[in-house]
């Protein structure tokens, strides 16, 4: 099936002019499937980590949001054990005007600003709410353990 123009253009731009700290490379055999890396934002417990993600553009894209999942283990209140992400724009706040780039930037921003009040991993969220310092320590440890080259 021919790839929609939108996906082709987005891919071209992602490769030619990547967002800082983000790479997204489509698979050769499936141009809707992207290997993504996101650098942990400076000043966050995820600093210096390189996190691997997968991103898939469903048939309905851009009317339906892309599917994004962390492949690297991460200690974050809005990301669960399976790497699923709780982010409004990936669900009901999706707008067809959003793009792969904007989605990944939002995921990066989520790393800087965890939101324990809307948790996906409840145990992590509880940890973050009760003792933020200690939770951040664990996040740093995990980043060291799983997300460094």
């Amino acid at each position: 099936m021919a790839l929609p123009k939108r996906i082709i253009k987005e891919t071209e731009r992602l490769v030619a002019d990547p967002a800082p700290g983000i790479t997204a490379v489509p698979h050769d055999d499936n141009l809707r499937y992207f290997d993504v890396t996101i650098q942990g934002p400076d000043g966050s417990p995820f600093q210096q980590g390189i996190f691997k993600l997968e991103l898939f553009l469903p048939e309905e894209y851009p009317m339906a949001p892309p599917k994004v999942r962390f492949l690297t283990k991460i200690y974050h209140p809005n990301i669960d054990k399976l790497g699923r992400i709780c982010l409004d724009i990936l669900k009901d706040k999706w707008s067809p005007a959003l793009q792969i780039r904007t989605v990944l930037l939002s995921v990066q921003a989520l790393l800087s600003a965890p939101n324990p009040d809307d948790p996906l991993a409840t145990d992590v969220a509880k940890h973050y709410k009760e003792n933020e310092k200690d939770a951040q320590r664990v996040s740093r440890e995990w980043t060291q353990l799983y997300a460094s080259e």
Partner: protein, 565 residues
């Protein structure tokens, strides 16, 4: 599925004189002439167990919506599109909308997605907002044509038609169509906001009509009707699959009325809706004649007839059955209770010499008497009549009484439910018998209709009977309950008699006699059913029924020894 059905739902009074059209297989177009037979004259008097309601087709509901829109348009001085969006935003609450709008028109319009929020600098002073809102809101191509690149699909082919809402966020018509269609089809969402990120404008109906295909727009209108019905407590959507009718029943809408009425309504349609394809006139007639009525309760979530018992009790009963029935059955058949401490015990092997794990009481499993009296006669119990054993069994049966009581009602309830499920078979069997009769006797097609009528009546009565058991289970002991159970018994007896008659084999020489008997019994059963329904309904109005548990909306039960589980 949109015509108004003109017959009333109760064919109770005209028993054998309404020759309904049968599903006799080959129905060609000629059947149209029998149309008039279905216009059963609405009955003048209403029975105590019936209440007033209206069946509305989708166009009828749309008329109601239009009326509201017109009203708001007149008062607020806005156009149809704006009035609709405002009303939908406010859940069709006109009073609140007017109040909010008068309070802060701009804010209300922004919240409803009619206009964009003003930039911070410009304070919403006394600007003529209404005029702004009444501006033409049709699909308008944004200013500069020339080269247009759709911001959604990135297409820049020359033939593209850019469309945008008031906000000017343009996208090509193809993207709009795909977007709105996916909202309507996949998300069942009638609020379609502008595709641009963070833009809260909602596409008005005129825009949607222009942007998508006819099928999609029909679905959109259906969603609007559903939303309207959902917002209005006097309306309820028919729960039957793919039925689009609505019932209006103000007398069943308030929670307090549910202690005195059982708002069973029928949406006016029958049978399963065809999936989209319009039926030919003859098919439509067959469906109306043979399909099951869409009966449901307006007051609760039970989507079938639960007369005579009120919603609160019916719900209580269903919940109890879901929770308890299987467990209770198992306990009854597999366990006994320790004669001393009443713990429930399952005997899964070993001899009859039981030692209760909890209280260490030793007893005999067979006679339930204390083991000490068995002497050396172990492994066999021949002491059934001994006094101690009798006493123990007495105590046992008392503690089992409440369980037994529940199972008594439950088994009868379940039995009638099962019979009702088998009704389809009964109808088929009856149909066969009717054919047989036409062959073996001189009776005509119309003259054998009595069988079908009887089967239908049977089905109806079983529903009533079923629920009388739920009711009786919760009724407090006393005179009223006894009267109720007398009525129940009479109906049950009549129903079983009729049932037996219908099952009896047909012998040609007996047919006239059988016909007479079945006809008489049908009328009698009908009368008994009416009595049960009517008397119960009157009882609710008079507040005659007292319960043995506390039921929402009723007085707490009198302090009698509670026999309920």
């Amino acid at each position: 599925m949109s015509s108004d059905y003109e017959y009333s739902d109760d064919d109770v009074d005209n028993v054998f004189d309404d020759d309904e059209l049968m599903a006799d297989g080959d129905s060609d177009g000629d059947d149209g002439m029998e149309m008039d037979d279905f216009k059963v004259v609405p009955k003048a008097t209403r029975k105590a167990y019936e209440l007033e309601y209206d069946s509305l087709s989708q166009p009828a509901v749309e008329k109601l919506m239009e009326k509201d829109v017109e009203y708001i348009r007149g008062i607020l001085g806005v156009d149809d599109n704006t009035a609709s969006l405002l009303l939908r935003h406010m859940g069709w609450n006109k009073e609140r909308l007017i109040e909010k709008y008068m309070d802060n028109a701009n804010k209300t319009l922004v919240a409803a997605g009619v206009i964009r929020p003003e930039p911070e600098a410009v304070k919403p002073s006394k600007r003529p907002i209404t005029r702004r809102a009444t501006k033409q809101r049709s699909p308008s191509p944004p200013k500069s044509s020339g080269s247009f690149t759709c911001s959604i699909c990135f297409d820049d082919a020359p033939g593209l038609t850019p469309l945008s809402l008031e906000c000017g966020h343009a996208a090509c018509s193809g993207c709009w169509e795909a977007y709105i269609t996916s909202k309507i089809r996949d998300e069942a969402e009638h609020v379609c906001r502008c595709m641009a990120e963070g833009c809260g404008l909602v596409a008005p109906d005129s825009f949607i009509r222009g942007a998508i295909d006819e099928d999609g727009f029909i679905r959109f209108q259906e969603l609007l009707v559903r939303h309207f019905v959902g917002c209005n407590k006097n309306l309820k959507f028919c729960p039957y699959p793919s039925c689009t009718n609505t019932v209006s029943c103000p007398s069943g809408a308030s929670k307090s009325s549910l202690t005195t009425v059982v708002p069973i309504v029928s949406c006016g349609a029958r049978g399963l809706a065809s999936d989209g394809a319009p039926l030919s006139q003859s098919q439509e007639l067959v469906k109306r004649a043979t399909g099951k009525e869409h009966k449901f309760c307006f007051g609760c979530v039970i989507d079938s007839d639960h007369r005579p018992v009120v919603c609160a009790v019916a719900t209580l009963w269903l919940k109890k059955c879901r929770d308890d029935s299987e467990t209770a059955n198992w306990i009854k058949s597999n366990t006994k209770e320790c004669p001393k401490c009443v713990s429930t015990i399952e005997k899964n092997g070993g001899c009859n010499h039981m030692t209760c794990k909890k209280c260490k009481h030793e007893f005999c499993w067979v006679c339930m008497g204390p083991w000490s009296e068995h002497g050396t006669a172990w492994y066999s119990c021949n002491r059934y009549d001994e006094e101690a054993g009798v006493n123990a069994r007495d105590a046992q049966s008392k503690s089992r009484a409440s369980l037994e009581r529940y199972l008594h009602y439950y088994n009868r309830w379940a039995n009638h439910e099962q019979s009702a499920k088998l009704a389809q078979d009964l109808f088929a069997k009856t149909e066969k018998k009717m054919e047989e009769m036409q062959i073996t006797s001189t009776l005509t097609w119309i003259e054998v209709q009595f069988m079908k009528k009887a089967a239908e009546e049977l089905d109806k009565c079983r529903v009533t009977l079923k629920w009388t058991y739920a009711m009786a289970y919760y009724l407090a002991k006393g005179n009223q309950k006894e009267l109720f159970e007398d009525n129940q018994r009479d109906l049950e007896r009549a129903v079983e008699d009729l049932s037996e008659l219908l099952e009896s084999p047909i012998e040609p020489e007996n047919i006239p006699a059988l016909r007479q008997k079945v006809t008489d019994k049908t009328v009698y059963v009908q009368k008994r059913n009416d009595i049960v329904l009517e008397d119960t309904a009157e009882g609710f109005v008079e507040g005659r029924w007292a319960w043995n548990v506390s039921v929402d909306g009723f007085e707490a039960p009198a302090a009698e020894p509670d026999t309920a589980l």
